[in-house]
C-alpha cells in the first residue's frame, strides 16, 4: 500500500459532475501519471462538499486548501504550482465577498464556519465507493457495538435519549417510532429508507447517498436489529442514477465484508437491503404512499392509523425513516446520546441539513445546529443576498412551507418555531427571495407544484388546490377582486383542515403565509392593478415619455411585436393593446425615456 503524501479530494456529486468534475479527475490522473507522482498523490472521488455555488471543488490535503470553480484547464497549474512547488494557486481560492481576501483553508470560509456536520460528516471527505474509507472513519463501529454490547431495547433507549426527530418533514421522535415497530408483533418486519426526496431544490438525501451511502446502510441494519427486521428496502427515485449506483456498490461491498447478509459479525443477526425505485412523484415521500408504490400500487396515501409501524409494507410492521435521519444514527451511537442532545434546542436536538437556494450568494448544502437563526444561515453562511439586493422573504420546508419575512430572521430554527411562524421544517429546503420577487406569483408558483403533485385522491387537495391556483392566477393577471383574498383564506383553511395527507394539509401554507405577511402586495394587485415587484406582466405598463424621447427608433426597431410607432426624430408611442411587456424597449432605450409603471 502506498504512503501518499498528498490527497486531492475532488467532488464527484451530481452537481459537480455536471460541471465537468469527471474531466478534472481524468486530467489530474494523466498529469500525475505524466509527472510520475502515482505513489505520492492520491485522487479521491468524494461526495458533495455542499458549497455547490462554487463547484467543482478540489480540496488538497494535508493543508486543506480549498479550490473553487475549478475547470479541467486549471489542473496543470494546480499540479505544477501547488503539488510540485508547494505554492497555492491564489486565483482559484475562495474570495470573501466582504473583505475581498482569498481564503485558503475551508475552515476559514464563512460558508463552513457555523456548520456542524453530523449527517454530512463524510460527504466530501471520503470516497463513497470504498467501504474501507468509511470503516476508517468509525464506519460500522456503531453496528458492531450494538450487536456485541447492547440489546435492541438499550439501543432504542439511546436513540430516544438523543432526542433525534425525523428529518423528512414530520419530526416524529425516531426512537419512539422504532420502539412502536419493535413492539408490533409479526413474523416479518421491514426497515424502509425513504429516499424519495421530492422538494424542488432540496438535495441533502441525494448528497448523503452519493457521498456516504454506508452511513445509511449501517443505520438501517441497526434499525433492523432494534425492531426485529431482517429486510431493508431503500425507496429511491429513479432520477437519482448516481445515488443508485453508489448504493448498489455500497450494498455489494457491505455484503462482501459480512456487514450485510446472514450472521452479521457472528452475532446471529441477519439483515439485507434491496432497492426499490420510484418514478419521482412528490407524494410518494409520504410514507403510506411510498409503501403503496413499493407494493406496485398507485402511489397515493391511505388514512392513518394504521401507521406503518403497525401495518406497513405488505401489511407488516414497517419502520420508515428518511435518509438524513438514518445518517445521524451511527454517530449518535458512537458518541452517545448525551453528546448529541447537547446540540440544538430544547425540543429539537442535533443538526439539520438545509438546501440553500434562491437569491443568495452561497447556494449549497449546509448543516447547522438546531437553533441557528435564519439570519445566521442567510447572511453568515449564505453570504447574504445576491447582487446587493434587499432581503424580502425566505421560504422554508419545500413547496408547502410558508414564506417568512425579515421579522422572523432572528427566529432560532427548529421544528416548533417554524410551525409557530406559519411555516415548517419540511425536509430542509430554504429558498431566499429578494425585493424583485412578487409574493403573489411566488404563492401561485408553489401551488402549481402541489397541484401537479397532488395524487388526486381527496377532494380538498385535488379540486381545492386547483381553485386556489386559479384565483392566484387571476390576481396576477390583474383580474382579481378584493373578495378573492378572503376566498383564498377560507379555501386554504379548509384544504389544510380537511385534506387526507400532509401534502394537502400543508399545500396552502405559501398562500396563507404570503397573505399574512404581504397582504399589501395582494391589495396592490387587486385594488390598484399594480404588481409592486414588477413581476406580473399583465399589470405592467411600458410608456414613452414624450419629452425624453429623441425619436432614435431603437425601441421601434427592437420591438418584437411591432407595438411601437413613431416618425424618426419624433416622440414614439407604445400601443398597449399590442405590447407583450417583454421589456426589450425598456432595456434598449438610451435616454431613459421609457417608463415602467
Amino acid at each position: 500500500m502506498s504512503d501518499y503524501k498528498m490527497h486531492l479530494l475532488i467532488c464527484s456529486g451530481t452537481g459537480c459532475k455536471a460541471s465537468e468534475s469527471e474531466d478534472i479527475i481524468n486530467s489530474f490522473t494523466s498529469l500525475i501519471d505524466e509527472f510520475g507522482l502515482e505513489d505520492e498523490v492520491q485522487i479521491v472521488r468524494t461526495g458533495c462538499f455542499g458549497f455547490c455555488e462554487k463547484g467543482p471543488i478540489v480540496k488538497v490535503l494535508p493543508d486543506n486548501t480549498f479550490y473553487v470553480r475549478v475547470s479541467p484547464g486549471d489542473t496543470e497549474e494546480i499540479l505544477k504550482e501547488h503539488i510540485v512547488k508547494g505554492r497555492t494557486v491564489q486565483r482559484l481560492l475562495y474570495t470573501d465577498p466582504v473583505t475581498n481576501e482569498n481564503i485558503s483553508d475551508s475552515k476559514g470560509i464563512g460558508f463552513y464556519k457555523k456548520q456542524i456536520r453530523i449527517a454530512l460528516r463524510n460527504c466530501g471527505f471520503i470516497n463513497p465507493e470504498n467501504i474501507e474509507e468509511y470503516i476508517a472513519r468509525d464506519g460500522y463501529m456503531a453496528l458492531g457495538k450494538c450487536l456485541a454490547e447492547f440489546t435492541p431495547e438499550e439501543t432504542i433507549q439511546e436513540i430516544k435519549e438523543s432526542g433525534l426527530r425525523g428529518r423528512g418533514g414530520g419530526g416524529f421522535p425516531t426512537g419512539l417510532k422504532w420502539e412502536i415497530t419493535r413492539k408490533s408483533e409479526a413474523d416479518q418486519k421491514y426497515v424502509v429508507c425513504n429516499a424519495d426526496e421530492g422538494d424542488p431544490g432540496a438535495f441533502m438525501d441525494r448528497s448523503i447517498l452519493e457521498g456516504d451511502p454506508h452511513s445509511v446502510l449501517e443505520a438501517m441494519a441497526i434499525c433492523g436489529y432494534c425492531i426485529g427486521a431482517d429486510k431493508g428496502l431503500v425507496y429511491i427515485r429513479a432520477e437519482y442514477p448516481l445515488a443508485i449506483e453508489r448504493l448498489k456498490t455500497a450494498i455489494k461491498q457491505a455484503r462482501e465484508y459480512g456487514l450485510l447478509g446472514n450472521d452479521i459479525m457472528g452475532a446471529k443477526f441477519n439483515f439485507d437491503i434491496e432497492l426499490r425505485y420510484g418514478a419521482g412523484a412528490f407524494v410518494c415521500g409520504e410514507e403510506t404512499a411510498l409503501i403503496h408504490s413499493m407494493e406496485g400500487l398507485r402511489g397515493e396515501p391511505t388514512f392513518k392509523p394504521p401507521f406503518p409501524s403497525v401495518s406497513g409494507y405488505m401489511g407488516k410492521p414497517t419502520n420508515v425513516n428518511n435518509v438524513e435521519t438514518f445518517a445521524n444514527i451511527p454517530v449518535i451511537l458512537n458518541k452517545g446520546a448525551n453528546w448529541f442532545n447537547k446540540i440544538g434546542t430544547e425540543k429539537s436536538k442535533g443538526t439539520k441539513v438545509f438546501a440553500l437556494a434562491g437569491k443568495i450568494n452561497n447556494v449549497g448544502l449546509i448543516e447547522v445546529p438546531m437553533g441557528t437563526t435564519l439570519r445566521e444561515v442567510i447572511y453568515d453562511i449564505g453570504g447574504g443576498i445576491k447582487n446587493g439586493k434587499e432581503f424580502k422573504s425566505v421560504q422554508t420546508g419545500g413547496p408547502s412551507g410558508g414564506c417568512l419575512t425579515k421579522d422572523f430572521l432572528d427566529t432560532p430554527i427548529d421544528y416548533d418555531n417554524l410551525i409557530a411562524a406559519g411555516s415548517m421544517m419540511g425536509s430542509g429546503g430554504m429558498i431566499v427571495m429578494d425585493e424583485d420577487d412578487c409574493m403573489v406569483s411566488i404563492a401561485r408558483f408553489y401551488l402549481e407544484f402541489t397541484l401537479e403533485e397532488s395524487c388526486g385522491k381527496c377532494t380538498p387537495c385535488r379540486v381545492g388546490n386547483k381553485r386556489l391556483h386559479e384565483i392566484l392566477d387571476k390576481i396576477t393577471k390583474g383580474k382579481g377582486e378584493v373578495e378573492d383574498i378572503e376566498r383564498l383564506r377560507v379555501l386554504s383553511s379548509v384544504i389544510k383542515d380537511a385534506s387526507l395527507c400532509g401534502l394537502g394539509q400543508s399545500s396552502p401554507n405559501p398562500v396563507l403565509s404570503t397573505i399574512a405577511n404581504f397582504e399589501n402586495e395582494y391589495l396592490a394587485h387587486v385594488n390598484d392593478g399594480k404588481c409592486p415587484a414588477g413581476q406580473c406582466k399583465a399589470l405592467l405598463k411600458y410608456e414613452i415619455a414624450e419629452d425624453l424621447c429623441t425619436g432614435c427608433t431603437l425601441c421601434f426597431r427592437n420591438c418584437p411585436v411591432g407595438a411601437i410607432t413613431g416618425e424618426r426624430r419624433q416622440p414614439h408611442f407604445i400601443d398597449q393593446s399590442i405590447c407583450i411587456k417583454c421589456g426589450v424597449c425598456f432595456e434598449k432605450c438610451k435616454f431613459d425615456a421609457i417608463t415602467l409603471t
Partner: protein
C-alpha cells in the same frame, strides 16, 4: 379495553373498540353524511378510501378534522359533527366537488337516483363559491355500459368493486391531481378491455358517471311497429326488485303487476325467462349427470367439476382470464339465450311467422345481458335470438314513460307456452339457486327416486364461497358455490392447481347473484335490500305448485314436440354454445 366511552354531539355513549366515528354516531341517530364510503354488510364489501372528505367531523384536541368513516373512536374522545368548522369544511368540500361536475341534473340518467344530488340538497348548497375549470373526457360507450367520465367524483367505489370484489382490474385511478379520474388503463375503451360487463361499477356509482346503455327507445319503436310481433321474457330476479322503483318495500314480490305492466305496454306475449331456466336445468342437469356417470365409470378425461354457465359476465371473465379452462363450464346457453333460441324457432313456427318479424325483448337484472344478446354465436343470418335486453331500471323507466300507475295494477299471469315455470326456475335469481334447481332434477333422474326434501338450506346464504355435500343415494355429490368474480377466481385457481374437491360449481358474477345484478334498482349501499330480495325469491319458490324443472308440463311438451330429449342433436344446436379464448 373492549369498550370505549366517548361523546358525540354532547351525547355520551359506549361503543365497542374498533368502531368508527361514523358507526358510533349512527347508533345514536346522528347521520354524518358520506359520499365515497359504502359498506355492504355480510358481503364483506367496503369502500373506505377516506377520499371525498364529506364526512369530516371535529374532534377535540385534534389538529385537523377527522373523516368519520375511517377514524376509529378512542377513549374520552369528544366529537362534534356539526360544529361550524365541520359544517363549513363539509360544505366547501361539496362545493369543490360540484365545481368540477357538470350541472346537467335535469337531463342526467341518474337524476333522482344520484347520491351527489341528494348530498348537495342535504347540505343545502345554494351557491358554488369556487368556480373554475371543469374536467372533460370523452364519453366511452360499450355494448353494455356507458362511461360519462366528466361526472366521476373519484369516490373509487367502482374501482374497489372491479379490483377487490371482482378481481377484473379494468377500472383504476389514472393521472394525477386535478386530472385524476377512474378509467381503464391508458384510457382505452371498455370494449377493448377485459371488462366482463358485470355492471357492479354501475350498481355502486353514486353519480351518472357509469350507467347502462339505454335501449328503451328501441323497444318503444318495436312496440309501435305493426309489422312486428313483440314478445318479452322477464328474468326471475326482476320480480323481486322492480317494486322498489315505485316506492315499494324492498323484497316485495310484484310478479303479477310486472306481467300486467308488460301487457299494458303492448307486448304481444308476456313470457317468463323462468321457463327457459327450467329448460336450462334439463340441459345442464343432464350434462352434469353425463359427466358424472363417465367419471364414475372410470373415464379419466372427463372434465369435472362442471361449472354453470348462466351468467354472461362470468362467461366473459373466464374467456379472458382462464381460457385454458374453457372446456370445463357447461355448454348450456344462459336462460335468456335459450329463451331467444326457442322463441325464434319453436314459437315463431307456432305463430307461422319469420324470425325477422318476431322481436324478443328481455327484462334482466343485468347489464351484461345486453352484451350477451349481441354475441355473434347467438345470431342467425345476423338476426339475434334476443333483440333487446332491458335492465330492471329501464323497464321502470318505460312504465313511467307510458303513464302506467304500477302500484294499482292488478295481478296478471304469464302467457303460454313459454310462460309456465317451476319453483326451481325462480331461484335462479339468487346465489345458490341454479345449483339447488339442478340438484332437484339431477337427483331424481340419477336416483330414479323422489326427493325426500325440496329445500336445500345448505346451499343458501350470502357467504361468498359456500360448499355442501348432497347425498345422491349413497354417492356424495360435492357442490361449490361462488358469487362475486373474486370468489369465483379462488375456486378456478383451485381447479387449475388440481385441488378442487367439487363435482359441480355454481358461479354468479354479482354479489348475491342476480338479485344484486348491475341492472337492478340501486341499493345505495344497503345490503339489507339484497337480503330482502333473496327472501322474496325463496318465497316465490315456495308459492309454486311445481318446484322441480323436469315436472314443468310445457317443458315436457317442448321436448316431445320439438327437441326430442335433453342433449339431443337439436337441443345441442339450439341450446348449447361454445366459448372463445379472448386473451388476444
Amino acid at each position: 379495553m373492549d369498550t370505549i366511552n366517548l361523546t358525540i354531539d354532547n351525547k355520551s355513549i359506549v361503543v365497542k373498540n374498533g368502531t368508527t366515528i361514523l358507526e358510533a354516531a349512527s347508533g345514536i341517530g346522528v347521520h354524518v353524511p358520506t359520499l365515497c364510503h359504502m359498506k355492504l354488510h355480510d358481503l364483506n364489501i367496503e369502500n373506505k378510501p377516506g377520499g371525498c372528505r364529506v364526512c369530516v367531523v371535529e374532534v377535540e384536541g385534534r389538529r385537523n378534522l377527522a373523516p368519520a368513516c375511517c377514524t376509529e373512536v378512542a377513549e374520552g374522545m369528544v366529537v362534534n359533527t356539526h360544529s361550524i368548522r365541520a359544517i363549513n369544511a363539509r360544505r366547501t368540500v361539496m362545493e369543490l366537488i360540484l365545481s368540477d361536475h357538470p350541472a346537467d341534473c335535469l337531463i342526467c340518467a341518474k337524476s333522482g337516483n344520484c347520491e351527489l344530488q341528494d348530498m348537495a340538497h342535504q347540505l343545502g348548497i345554494r351557491e358554488i363559491h369556487y368556480q373554475g375549470e371543469q374536467s372533460h373526457y370523452r364519453e366511452d360507450t360499450s355494448p353494455a355500459i356507458i362511461r360519462e367520465v366528466d361526472k366521476c367524483i373519484m369516490c373509487r367505489r367502482c374501482e374497489m368493486m372491479c379490483n377487490e370484489v371482482q378481481t377484473v382490474g379494468v377500472l383504476s385511478a389514472i393521472n394525477r391531481g386535478f386530472n385524476s379520474v377512474v378509467s381503464p388503463a391508458f384510457e382505452m375503451n371498455l370494449d377493448h378491455s377485459v371488462c366482463t360487463y358485470c355492471g357492479q361499477c354501475v350498481a355502486v356509482c353514486p353519480t351518472g358517471a357509469l350507467t347502462e346503455v339505454d335501449e328503451t327507445g328501441n323497444v318503444i319503436r318495436a312496440l309501435s311497429d305493426p309489422s312486428k310481433t313483440v314478445i318479452v321474457q322477464t328474468a326471475p330476479a326482476v320480480r323481486a326488485a322492480l317494486g322498489e322503483e315505485f316506492g315499494m318495500e324492498a323484497g316485495t314480490l310484484v310478479t303479477g303487476k310486472l306481467v300486467a305492466s308488460l301487457k299494458q305496454l303492448g307486448f304481444d306475449y308476456v313470457f317468463d325467462t323462468d321457463f327457459a331456466a327450467d329448460l336450462t336445468i334439463m340441459e345442464e342437469g343432464t350434462e352434469l349427470l353425463n359427466r358424472l356417470s363417465k367419471h364414475l365409470s372410470g373415464d379419466k378425461d372427463v372434465k369435472l367439476p362442471i361449472l354453470t354457465s348462466c351468467c354472461p359476465a362470468w362467461v366473459k371473465f373466464f374467456e379472458h382470464q382462464f381460457p385454458e379452462m374453457k372446456d370445463i363450464p357447461s355448454t348450456a346457453r344462459s336462460p335468456q339465450q335459450m329463451f331467444g333460441s326457442i322463441a325464434k324457432t319453436y314459437f315463431a313456427d307456432k305463430l307461422g311467422i319469420n324470425r325477422e318479424d318476431l322481436v324478443v325483448v328481455s327484462i334482466m337484472p343485468c347489464v351484461a345481458k345486453k352484451y350477451e344478446c349481441g354475441r355473434e354465436e347467438f345470431k342467425t343470418n345476423d338476426n339475434p335470438d334476443v333483440d333487446y335486453a332491458l335492465t330492471t331500471r329501464e323497464l321502470a323507466a318505460l312504465i313511467k314513460i307510458s303513464n302506467i300507475d304500477f302500484r294499482t295494477l292488478p295481478n296478471e299471469t304469464f302467457d303460454n307456452p313459454l310462460g309456465e315455470s317451476t319453483g326451481a326456475a325462480v331461484i335462479f335469481g339468487t346465489t345458490g339457486g341454479v345449483i339447488e334447481a339442478a340438484v332437484r332434477t339431477a337427483y331424481e333422474i340419477h336416483t330414479k327416486k323422489e326427493l325426500p326434501r325440496i329445500d336445500f338450506a345448505e346451499l343458501r346464504g350470502m357467504e361468498g364461497i359456500r360448499k355442501a355435500t348432497i347425498d345422491f343415494d349413497g354417492f356424495p355429490l360435492k357442490i361449490g358455490i361462488a358469487h362475486g368474480l373474486g370468489n369465483a377466481r379462488k375456486l378456478l385457481e383451485d381447479i387449475q392447481a388440481g385441488k378442487s374437491e367439487f363435482h359441480a360449481i355454481e358461479i354468479m358474477s354479482c354479489p348475491g347473484g342476480c338479485i344484486g345484478g348491475g341492472g337492478q334498482p340501486y341499493h345505495h349501499g344497503n345490503a339489507e335490500v339484497l337480503k330482502k330480495r333473496q327472501m322474496a325469491i325463496y318465497q316465490e319458490d315456495k308459492n309454486k305448485v311445481i318446484r322441480k324443472s323436469h315436472e314443468n308440463p310445457y317443458i315436457i311438451e317442448l321436448y316431445e314436440e320439438f327437441l326430442g330429449e335433453p342433449m339431443s342433436e337439436k337441443a345441442h344446436h339450439l341450446l348449447h354454445t361454445e366459448y372463445f379464448d379472448r386473451t388476444e
